[in-house]
């Protein structure tokens, strides 16, 4: 993994409170799990970004190494890796996810 690639990923993670690396885009998801994750965050209602890495093998490999997580989508909230909806679903039910997200957006309130 090149340092440039790693740095650009870290910049992307830092630039978005909620970031999903997936297959396809918000408008045109190209994987059922990416669509499911977009639906999940649409229901939560906070702004989030989806970045398509389907055609970028080097970036997918770098992301897998950085997270020790083999599959897409990969979700980052406030710079921290949270896996996918298999992890976020139980976190939503327990109330932990709301705390994490409210905390992530605490500094953007007017």
């Amino acid at each position: 993994m090149t340092q440039d690639l790693k740095q650009s990923i870290q910049d992307e993670i830092a630039a978005h409170k909620i970031l999903i690396y997936g297959k396809g885009t918000k408008q045109a998801p190209r994987c059922g799990f990416t669509l499911e994750t977009i639906d999940f965050f649409n229901q939560i209602g906070f702004p989030f970004e989806v970045l398509d890495v389907l055609g970028n093998d080097a970036k997918r490999q770098a992301l897998t190494e950085m997270t020790n997580w083999p599959t897409l989508p990969k979700v980052f909230i406030n710079g921290k890796f949270y896996g996918d909806t298999d992890i976020l679903g139980p976190m939503l039910e327990s109330g932990e996810l709301e705390r994490v997200i409210v905390d992530a957006f605490a500094d953007v309130k007017a």
């Binding site: 799990f33 997580w69 083999p70 599959t71 896996g83 298999d86 976190m91």
Partner: protein
């Protein structure tokens, strides 16, 4: 394509006491819901529990027998 027995065998090779339930989501034997119960999960964060299963299934995920997994893990009480 991969069978329930193969998924169970891969997971049990890492977690011998695992109870493994699978559901073929698409009828094509490559998209599964997998629920694993094991004492090895106890005290571990959910993220790490899932990493343990992905590691056990990595061979099948890499060679394409298994395309996608929806995963649920539970620690034995």
């Amino acid at each position: 394509m991969i069978t329930h027995e193969d998924i169970e065998r891969l997971i049990r090779s890492a977690l011998p006491d695992a109870r493994v339930q699978t559901y073929d989501r698409t009828g094509t034997s490559d998209h599964y819901n997998v629920t694993v119960t094991s004492s090895a999960f106890s005290g571990k964060p959910l993220l790490d529990q899932h990493r343990m299963i992905y590691a056990a299934l990595s061979e099948a995920l890499k060679d394409g027998r298994l395309h996608a997994v929806e995963l649920k893990t539970e620690a034995n009480k």
